[in-house]
Amino acid sequence: MTKEEILQQLNDIFRRVLNNKLTLTYDMSAKDVDGWDSMTNLMLIGEIEKHYDIHFKMREIVKLANVGELCDTILKKIA
């Protein structure tokens, strides 16, 4: 899978969880996205873990600066 494909899949997950029509880009983080808060973040992580059958440590999550780094981490985990 490529990074672009991951971004596309994340876009679907984000739209479903946040219930809006956003277009994710690599440089986005929580502060740029309406509705991405503590509660929805938990739901997003849950959905991403389920979709890729992976598990994140909180120590990994807190180091992710933006969506691009999230894509990279997912790529590494499913490799």
Partner: protein, 497 residues
């Protein structure tokens, strides 16, 4: 004890004695007490020329904002925090209600009409010694916070210098004592009164305050600080440990020595899991409304044996020194021990009343045995030991991550969107994993354009934490037998959507 004796003098002493030590850790950067003092001095010099008592403060996450609060107090003035991320209309409403003329802003860009704006970026650096403070009567407010109001207009709660001094004294007598080696968490927006204890108690002790950026996901930022900075003192809302539950196996916090919770019901099972991460910490659940200054009851968690709780929520414990509590029935008659009713509070920490709102004051405050009591709206009972258990609310107020939300305020704002009296109700529904979620239900058929327009309207007037997580449309609302909108049946309908 006066505000000068309890707050101002110890603050000045702390700033002088601990000059080289770190006072703040904000956005990955340390600032010393000397740097804090220099900032306070230069802000005071400008403020000294300002005639007004009430100063609005744009509440940013930076050293200058905290320095402004101390400068305002040392100049005998009062601050009213404005949240930079909250809608402009809400801030404007607060500025108008208070008749504010002067605003301190440490960042550029915000527009405040014709008012005087003190832009801290442009102030010269002062290295003069600290000047004597401007004295001010203790019945003057130290800060005024605006909370959700059921009429769609935020209401102002003034907390006097006397109230705040009484809080500091009460905390000391309860035994929450910090020292200059403590590393302390400050996770609250400055528009929320738990922020005051989270920066003031460390500053009084010469300790270092670690702030959480409002731009980050809160519980993650708290995790990072706990894990990397080895914090020793924390005050958190219970939702933080609830969200951290799946990650507690990553947390080992032997340095944490005092861990407080406040702001919402503390679930016993989350607390047990937390106590296994914070193995050495003394853990307390404290409680109090903004109207009775930050917190005023305290329950100390027992690691061994049973803890008092009601419906899985830990007791809020006994009143702290200086506060009195009574449980009353609907006619404001005190109830005997063990009976459930509305918790009312009196004492040194009690606000003089809502800002210019006689009507609300007449409803919320009453006299009993010569003392003025505040009706908290919380349903509680008090047991034989004096410990208070919390059961729920008498009204439509809910709490999400510690923020007080009047569902009726959301309804008021939503109703203004419709010109044709369309009915709306705001309903809080418990989500099994994620806690309370606000639904806004509209008596209309579903319409995408309407959804977008209504949601834009709400964003103009309500802070993010009050925005409904979901919107539902029901063509005709069910009514109950007395002809009122049946909220219970509406919740059942949306549960099944």
């Amino acid at each position: 004890m006066s505000f000068y004796d309890c707050v101002i003098e110890p603050l000045q002493l702390s700033m002088t004695c601990h000059g080289e030590r770190n006072a703040f850790f904000i956005q990955e950067q340390y600032s010393t007490y000397n740097e804090l003092t220099a900032a306070v001095t230069r802000i005071r010099k400008t403020l000294h020329e300002v005639p007004e008592q009430y100063i609005a403060l744009a509440a940013h996450d930076n050293l200058l904002t905290y320095a402004s609060i101390l400068a305002i107090w040392m100049e005998g003035k009062c601050y009213i925090p404005l949240h930079p991320l909250q809608p402009k209309q809400r801030c404007e409403n607060i500025i108008c209600q208070m008749g504010i003329e002067t605003i301190i802003d440490s960042e550029e860009g915000a527009q405040y009409g014709n008012r005087r704006v003190i832009c801290l970026q442009n102030l010269p650096i002062e290295s003069e010694p600290m000047k004597p403070v401007t004295m001010c009567a203790d019945d003057m407010p130290a800060y005024i916070l605006f909370t959700s109001g059921s009429t769609g207009r935020p209401k102002g709660v003034p907390v006097t210098r006397h109230n705040l001094a009484a809080f500091v004294e009460s905390v000391r007598r309860t035994g929450f004592i910090l020292n200059e080696n403590d590393r302390c968490l400050q996770m609250f927006d400055l528009t929320f009164d738990l922020s005051v204890q989270s920066f003031l108690l460390p500053a009084l002790a010469g300790a270092c305050t670690y702030t959480v950026s409002p731009k980050k996901i809160k519980y993650q930022a708290v995790f990072e600080l706990l894990d990397e900075q080895k914090l020793t003192f924390t005050m958190m809302v219970p939702s933080v440990i609830h969200y951290l539950r799946p990650y507690m196996n990553e947390l080992n916090l032997p340095e944490l020595r005092l861990s407080l919770f406040a702001g919402e019901g503390l679930p016993a099972d989350d607390l047990k899991a937390w106590s296994e991460c914070a193995t050495k910490a003394e853990i307390h659940n404290v409680y109090g409304p903004t109207e009775n200054t930050i917190y005023c009851t305290d329950y100390c968690y027992r690691r061994e044996g049973k803890n008092k709780q009601a419906n899985g929520i830990i007791s809020i414990g006994r009143v702290m020194p200086g506060t009195e509590a009574v449980i009353v029935d609907e006619d404001l008659v005190p109830l005997p021990t063990g009976r459930k009713g509305e918790l009312c509070l009196a004492g040194e920490q009690l606000t003089p009343g809502y800002w210019h709102d006689e009507q609300k004051n007449n409803i919320s405050f009453f006299n009993l045995d010569g003392k003025r009591f505040y009706r908290t709206g919380d349903i509680c009972d008090i047991d034989l030991d004096g410990d208070i258990n919390y059961y729920g609310r008498t009204d439509s107020q809910i709490k999400i991550q510690g923020f007080r939300i009047e569902l009726s305020e959301i309804e008021c704002v939503a109703r203004r969107f419709f010109v044709d009296n369309t009915a709306v109700v705001a309903i809080a529904m418990e989500h099994p994993l994620h806690g309370l979620k606000i639904h806004l239900v509209v008596e209309r058929t579903d319409d995408d354009n309407l959804r977008v327009a209504l949601s834009e309207h709400l964003k103009q007037f309500l802070p993010t934490y009050m925005l409904p997580a979901e919107m539902n449309f029901i063509p005709v609302f069910p009514m109950n037998t007395s002809g009122k909108i049946d909220k219970q049946r509406i919740s059942n309908i949306i549960k099944n959507i």
